[in-house]
Amino acid sequence: MKPGRLAWWLVIWVVGLFYLIPMLSMTRFAFQRIPVIKLSFNNVFSKWTIEPLLTTFSDSGFRSSAMLSIWLAIATAVLTLLLLVPTMTIAHLRSPRMRRVIEISAVLPFVVPAIALVVGFAGAFRDTIPQLIRSPFGMVPLYVITALPFTHRTLENGLASLDLRTLIDASRSLGASWIRTVLFVIVPNMRASIATASFLALTVVLGEFTIASLLLKNTLPLYLAYAQGQNPQGSFAVGLVLVVLSAGFVTAANRFGKRVVS
């Protein structure tokens, strides 16, 4: 092997270890009942247990915050699709100018960090529609906004790869109504990008901390942050589950995303 290649392999290995070690440490801490100090080659494989995870799963505080996070994630994905798919489809068909407007507006959330967005939101709605701040589902619009740059890009790629005009003309000339056309022609053709966008929205919601923390809503990440003190092993175990889950979502999004392009 040439020395140059060896150096590049070294880069890959060092960074690979850096990516791997924190995750392995978290796994060990969550599932092995041996303090780091007492850890040695003789007991690396002993006292592993999934009990911390099971105990936490039966905790009512965990259950309510997990349910809340799951519902918020689903609501966010649904609202994202309802808001974007029809609007973007029509813009693609009829108005390149509108398409550009949507494209620019979709990267705006990058400019407003979550912390600024949420304090502005709380201030703006405190005196006008306080219900939005009080109900945890008031956060859904903010989540939609936070995920917008990613979800928009995905759907945009999906739409760009379709011959929309032909599909719609065919469907319409066969007598299908507009609603039928969208539901049974456009949506099935966009299923890969719709799935990708949904996965991205789910990932954003399951990991989001800033917004829920400032509005004092007990989502899963908030539960973890506060349970860390009394139940470190259990909350690290759940943290690991969250990592695996969002890794799965992102990987699924990549898979589907590739199908969008090809």
Binding site: V15, F18, M26, R94, P141, G207, F209, T251
Partner: protein, 283 residues
Amino acid sequence: MAGSFKSRARHFIYLPYLIFLSVFLVWPGIYVFRAAFEKNSAERHPMVEAVTGQYRASFIYSLELSAVSAAIGLFIGSLVAIAIVRLENVRVLRSLVVGYSSVAANMGGIPLAFAFLSAFGMQGLATRLLREINIDLIGWGFRITDFWGIVLVYLYFQIPLMTLILVPAIDGLRRTWHEVAQSLGATANQYWRFVALPILTPALLGGFLLLIANAFAAYATAFALSSGGSRLVPVQIRFFLQGETITGKTNLGYAMAAWMVLLTLVLVIGFQTLVRRSERWRQ
């Protein structure tokens, strides 16, 4: 554009999206700036006070943390990107590294803080393993909750983000350029130094700005690591504006948020401009 009712009516289809953005993005944004520029009883304007004294220190700390983690992320992330291109003949390597990078670039928040606490905390596994080979992090004064500790944690999403930004840019380098350079007698290193690097510069600089903005907005990880993170701007804003408590300095909190938006705006515009420049080579 025909003036018939029907052609105008079809524009209504865009209304839900536009209203949604106005209500949940533009209005909160405007609210932040209005509250920030509201003159209160304090002698100094909130926008001025937000960048003086201890609050200035807070901004500098946040920006330093972002810039340092972005610089290291830029360097290592680029090395990884070049490595997977150089080791192209190993098929799985590329999809493995790019795949994991997109996972790690999205990582953040509480679970990431947990992972680093269990690896590099006082009782961390990595801390322990390093001590076995006589690298005593804690003895050297390293704490995962300090400046360099947070930098280390941030690198977990900064490095992969840079890799993801750079890989398409490197793919855009045309094989023919390499061949031309070779046929003119350039060594591999000369090619990278005098041909590839100048072409990649906009992508590198743009990535650097994006990485700064990325770290600047991060909040959850620092919050979970607590102590050291408490000086970060987002944590300060939270202190003034959390829940319903009246600290008497709400305007100051909004002013800090307004400064964050302004700084991020500059970074994002810089990023967009540079990316457009770097795309000129790719047709």
